[in-house]
Amino acid sequence: MSNTVHDMGGMHGFGPVEPEPNEPVFHGRWESRVFAMRVAMGAARLWSIDGGRASLETLPPLTYLTSYYERWFNGLERQLVKHELVGEDELAAGKSLRPGRAVNGKLSLAAAQRVRGPMAPFERPAPAPARFQPGDRVRTKEMNPATHTRLPRYARDKAGVVEAIRGCHVYPDSAALDLHDENPQWLYTVVFTGRELWGEEADPAIKVSIDAFEPYLLPA
């Protein structure tokens, strides 16, 4: 789903930003285990990074609106059940009731020693030349797909300018549904004025950019 509460750019009502002095990396051990489990299960190669994001976005809104690692935990449980890695009965029992299924990989200690972040490149050979060049005026599409997308609502049907080409990348809208459907697309940094996004009352000193995949864009 794309028009869910995760797409919150421009929403009001969440209050001030509250930086925490001397913030620890994790607020409790359970957060660190959720983090590590979610990263490690990526090695099973059953879903893409956007498939993982979609598992969070499709949580019920009130579940989404809990803390970050509660959200990660609930999304991970759903992914594990959806991909038949863990049964609902096992989650309820709090223990394994049968052997695991075959997966495409397991994060070893040696590999974990090399992991410093999501490093795998997302760039792919281009199936066609880029349709747009820096300086081109474009308009983002009005679109409301029921499935995952990375075009935020606040930046749909807006006029902008292509500032840079970032290469041809795995297309999230496809790869979220099927890990193997990478459907590579050209990726552009597109910049908008604050007034185009937010109306004539907006501060004229503000510009906002998104990184937009070619299918999100029309010539303007």
Partner: protein, 210 residues
């Protein structure tokens, strides 16, 4: 301070102790299940946690910024292709393959956000702070960046333009802040000491005093 074991900034509704304990039990049980089924190695999980708690963090980004301040060739390389420049400098496993450095100038201040989730340049800044992942920042940075900066006590010159970068793809952004005046003769190490994490997100400025 939030209570221990609670990343309380994300949400307004409270959780009593028993609910948190239940969550902790579920987390523990899930790790047991995943281990028993052979999907994860607990030692690898420990290592992942150790990486983000002790190895990666803003000190890496600070080193990059300090080098860019003293070495014009590195600065040019960083702005042209940050992934290549950073890998050459830091010399560890590849950083995020699509790292982009954006430079603050007297005219333009850069601010990085991920409105849709929590995209952040882990490899050079570590894991993001809670506020970066929380709803106030994600919702307001693109519509009211000056208000967000005010929450951080940052006031820009009135004629500054603010450029907000919403991390909607696998590109990752690090802000190259302006070098403070009065640091002309400083060593690279001393310069790195004033480069804060927030200054590389755009919600802060390098500290005037180390």
């Amino acid at each position: 301070m939030p209570p221990a074991d609670h990343s309380g900034h994300d949400h307004g509704r409270g959780h009593d102790h028993s609910e948190l304990s239940e969550l902790q039990l579920r987390v523990r049980a899930l790790e047991t299940i995943l281990t028993e089924k052979g999907y994860v190695d607990p030692a690898a999980l420990d290592q992942l946690v150790e990486n983000v708690e002790t190895k990666i963090g803003p000190h890496i980004g600070a080193r990059i910024v300090a080098r860019a301040w003293i070495d014009p060739d590195f600065r040019a390389a960083l702005l042209a292709n940050a992934s290549e420049a950073v890998n050459a400098l830091v010399g560890f496993d590849p950083v995020s393959a699509h790292l982009i450095a954006v430079e603050n100038t007297p005219q333009t201040h850069n601010l990085v956000v991920c409105t849709l989730c929590s995209c952040y340049p882990w490899s050079v800044l570590g894991l993001p702070p809670v506020w970066y992942k929380a709803f106030p920042y994600r919702s307001r940075a693109v519509i009211d960046p000056k208000g967000v900066l005010a929450d951080f006590g940052v006031a820009l010159p009135p004629d500054s333009e603010i450029r907000v970068w919403d991390s909607t793809a696998e590109t990752r952004f690090i802000v190259l802040p302006m070098r403070p005046e009065g640091t002309e003769n400083w060593s690279e190490e001393r310069l790195a000491g004033i480069v804060t994490r927030d200054s590389m997100i755009g919600t802060g400025l390098p500290r005037a005093q180390p």
